[in-house]
Amino acid sequence: MKKHGLILLTLALGLSALFASVAFADEPVMGGVLRWHEINDPPKVDPAQVTDTTSSRVVYLMFDSLVENDADGKGVTPALAESWEGSDGGKVWTFHLRKGVHFHKETEGQPTANGGREVKAADWKYSFERLVYENSPRAYFLDMVKGYQDFISRDETGAKEWAGIKVVDDYTLQFELEYPFAPFVAVLAYNTFVVVPKEDAEKWGKEFNFHPVGTGPFCFDKWDHDQKLATKRNPDYWRKDDAGRQLPYLDGVEIVVIPDPTITYEEYKKGNIDCYRDIPDEFYEDVQANYKSVFQERPQLGTYYYGFNNEMGDFAGPEKLKLRQAFNYAVDRARISDLVLNGRFPAARGVLPPGFPGYNENLKGYEYNPEKAKELMKESGYPDGFEVELLVNNNPRHRAVGEAIQAQVAELGIKMSIKVLDWGVMLDLCDRGEVNLFRMGWVVDYADPDNFLYVLFHSSNKGAKGNYSRYSNPEFDKLVEQARVDTDYAKRMELYQKAEQILVDDAAWLFLFHYSNSLLYQPWVKNIHMPAFGDYTTPLYNVWVQK
């Protein structure tokens, strides 16, 4: 009996220890530095100048915006604005700011010029106006805010301020727009539209890029170019976890720069880096086989396409509609994705990615149908095929996809040659419309179909503003214009779906794939969740390391 009692006691103790360890495993651990890999040095970390994903990664660590994209990319959630409302038919937007948010008190081991003071509405007005002063490449995203044109031409107009941005009181900020613009709040989640302290921004001027100060979970610490950029925990960060603990948990995040993908993968295996985003195709199978439990993958809100020049050249105009459609029927997207991309990129039937607002499950797209393609080619006057040159920018993945498509369309007699160009050259040619067929991709800037359909296809945006395929259709224009100003969400989505169907029927692009996001991390990295917006936007304020 005594013996049984001892066994039971041991069992009970063992079980309670097991449960305790399970419970503790989910408990956040304070401290530790997370090493996040990037392939190149961030070119700019001043949010006013950021246009690339590496720099954006850093900006997300150190700065905050009024609103944030939600994890699934379906809308926005409050950040430094607690709430907001639209009035005057969507022409006025009022934001109620969170109280008790402070700028970084320390940077690079020194006190900041602002001293860690509280963020007020005037700081937001300053931050938005600074974008114009600094010629931010993204300031024009807000060109619908009243007074933008006057303010960017202030030398001629004498405008002293951006008239449409008003400080109502310390915690209320108001935007007045030139016209109702339904996606306005979604645009404000873009990582350029963050708050910066005037004292530090003016102290450093153009050098603010090397001494950034914000309100984010991590403060800037040290930047060894082409090696690493180190950040430290912001002890006054405004966020707390559900149990009331101060965030972030980590002592800091280091952006580690390693240019070679093979070496990066080896460094990951050795445990020298904690997070490796955008896993290259060549390691995908190995990752799936060996690291599945620490690998996240999900569709990204973006589309990979080949643009036809709809305005001039071999594919232009309604008379070449059948030819563009033939091309769309001639490509077996699923097979190419399987063969070349490890099946990671889902086939695109249209423009909007699955899960994105306005995505149409019933969109009538193009399926692989070589017979139909042949028939359409015959009808369009090319029964024996034709020759065409595809331009792609220099990237192994783009070349591999191009070669696979080249082989598929060759079966229909289409001789497609591939010309590989530098990205800068490619952009120049696309801006000027001196292209017939070109590879391009689009990853969303803000969670609204406007960012795809208006930006990439409205006739006013031909060229550098996004419409590289130089598509123009008055009926389509009318629909997307209407959708921009309508405040009824359901009606807007309906308008976008109609517009997208027109685009697909017109075969404005060779619709190919939707992008996919991936993130590989170490087993000791806990509570990491990659959002649909992109691996580089993964929040790290609530991540901890448990070794």
């Binding site: 690339d52 170019h225 990205w423």
Partner: protein, 308 residues
């Protein structure tokens, strides 16, 4: 001697001017607009015009050229279009890392290459000679990226003797593999050159005379033959030093070494004209200085060389 140095330094002025001009022309004919690249995939024409104006790219080309010449003459290489960093600061910062790597690589190459070359020549057709020359031919032919990857896989990732890639905050262990990778080719080249020069010198009459005088072989080889064989070796060493100091893109990329080669390649991809121009001028200066040092060293090695 002093007048020779001054004359050589004066010659560098037209050379640098020539380099500056050629660089300016070449960079401006390369397609791809740096202002457009700064906008990212899309941007509005008004912002593009403002950025171009800020960069001075809206000025007529001759005016851009004269402004550039004026700034270079003042020692101002401008600011990076991409990061806004001062070009001189960026180059000097990366040069520190490149210099550290190149210095050790060249010391390793000189020690291994010259020693192997001398022994091979003295013991011609011996097992050492054959082995050293096979290794040297492999060293000259082996691609740098292949050597680097192999070394990393073996010593950093399988045997775990080396912590990994990167600069390692100056930790010497991070230097070992990139130094070997970078040093293999110059060492092999030096071994082959030293061997052939030594063989030529060893067949000269004065070497036979020295041996006939009864001098020890060590003295014949070390004092009479080696010194005379050094001039072509020093010339090759000089060009190798210039090459290595200009940055080793592949080695720097594989080992994530923050050197000047990587900076220049990034600048080229992103059409960062000021960094591209500054980097090329900097490299030209390195070549000029290295050549001057090599030329001056001839006088110390061979007393017949005069600078008057």
């Amino acid at each position: 001697m002093l007048s020779y140095i001054l004359r050589r330094l004066l010659y560098t002025i037209p050379v640098v001017w020539g380099v500056v001009t050629v660089v300016f022309i070449l960079i401006n004919v390369v397609p791809g607009d740096p202002a457009r690249l700064m906008l990212g995939q899309r941007g509005d024409p008004a912002t593009l015009a403002k950025i171009r104006s800020d960069m001075g790219l809206d000025l007529p080309i001759y005016q851009q050229y004269f402004n550039f010449l004026r700034d270079v003459a003042k020692g101002d290489l401008g600011k990076s279009y991409r990061s806004n960093e001062q070009v001189t600061t960026a180059l000097l910062e990366r040069f520190k890392a490149t210099f550290r790597l190149a210095l050790w690589a060249i010391i390793l190459a000189a020690l291994v290459g010259i020693t192997a070359g001398v022994i091979s020549a003295v013991k011609q057709y011996s097992a050492f000679d054959y082995s050293a020359m096979i290794i040297a031919i492999s060293g000259v032919s082996a691609p740098v990226f292949w050597v680097g990857l192999l070394l990393l896989l073996a010593f950093a990732y399988n045997l775990n003797w080396i912590p990994g890639v990167g600069y390692g905050d100056g930790d010497w262990r991070y230097l070992i593999l990139p130094v070997i990778t970078l040093g293999v080719r110059p060492a092999a080249l030096l071994a082959r050159i030293t061997r052939s020069c030594m063989l030529e010198v060893l067949s000269q009459d004065y070497v036979r005379t020295a041996r006939a005088k009864g001098l020890a072989e060590r003295v014949v080889v070390g004092r009479h033959a080696f010194r005379n064989a050094l001039i072509p070796v020093i010339t090759i060493l000089g060009t190798q030093i210039s090459d290595l100091l200009s940055g080793a893109v592949l080695t720097e990329t594989i080992f994530a070494w923050p050197g000047i080669g990587r900076l220049e390649v990034e600048a080229l991809i992103n059409r960062d004209f000021p960094i591209m121009r500054g980097g090329i001028i900097f490299m030209a200066l390195i070549f000029l200085v290295a050549n001057l040092i090599v030329d001056l060293s001839y006088g110390f090695i061979d007393p017949r060389v005069r600078y008057d």
